[in-house]
Amino acid sequence: MIDTSKYWEELANDPIQDADAVVGGAIRRRNVKSGEWARAHRFHNYEFSLAIPRRVLDVGCGTGDT
């Protein structure tokens, strides 16, 4: 298993998280009304509606583009 605790700690302490900023490939958002946190991924100008997935397959990972 990969220890992600450090990563989340970094994310939580990031000062620009309120601004929907890209943080290491993952952005964190807060719903202003409910105060809930939601996460989305943004890579290469694509914004995914994925929550942080547990298991990911990247197809064609060795090509220069992906």
Binding site: M1, I2, T4, Y7, G24, G25, A26, H41, F43, H44, N45, Y46, E47, F48, S49, L50, I52, P53, R54, R55, V56, L57, D58, V59, G60, C61, G62, T63, G64, D65, T66
Partner: protein, 193 residues
């Protein structure tokens, strides 16, 4: 380094697996992952015969990739994705779209001509192979196969996927399709058929 570009951020938060057919490209990807100290698993395999169990991935990313395959394989590949995808999982696949080529970029005459040649090639695999043999390449150095929204939606349908969202990028040249397993496909998997 661009190799494994999506694996690096996902590798930090998920159990990420990378798949590629080329050993040399996998080596490059691996070097990049090692530099980032990420224990991501890399698998060498053919996407037409995915070497994974059914229902195990929460997300499958197929970015800047599928349109490089010949069209006759698309349905087969998407079926494989649907099989490996978890019930609530998400498939993200982007394609090069044909429609904008004729409607928006008349100004780029030479580019247009190139796009037209690629379009002609896609219609005939023999010409495509001959084109490759002669050493011609598109502007990206690779052959790209264009598609339309209608064609993609019908292919998704055949493969047991349902398109949830479409996002146009680069003036509509690329479209990202966000898909989920269709209910019939989920039922078939549950019944073990």
């Amino acid at each position: 380094m661009r190799y494994g570009r999506y694996l690096v951020p996902f590798g930090k938060v998920s159990d990420a697996v990378g798949l590629d057919l080329s050993q040399s490209q996998l080596n490059r990807c691996n070097a990049n992952l090692k530099r980032n100290q990420l224990p991501v698993e890399l698998v060498r395999g053919d996407i037409r015969f995915l070497p994974f169990r059914a229902d195990i991935f929460d997300a499958i990313l197929c970015l800047n990739f599928l349109y490089l395959l010949e069209k006759r394989f698309w349905c087969r590949v998407l079926e494989q994705f649907a099989n490996s995808l978890h019930e609530n999982g998400e498939l993200d696949v982007n394609m090069r779209m044909r429609r904008e080529v004729w409607t928006k970029h008349y100004a780029f005459g030479i580019l247009l001509l190139m796009e037209r040649l690629v379009y002609e090639m896609e219609k005939n695999a023999r010409i495509s192979r001959l084109w490759k043999k002669l050493g011609f390449r598109t502007t990206h150095g690779l052959l790209a196969f264009f598609t339309t929204e209608k064609q993609m939606l019908s292919t998704f349908d055949k493969a047991g996927l349902r398109c949830k969202k479409q996002i146009d990028r680069f003036q509509g040249h690329f479209t990202l399709f966000v898909c989920q397993k269709s209910s019939s496909a989920i039922q078939a998997t549950t019944l073990g058929t």
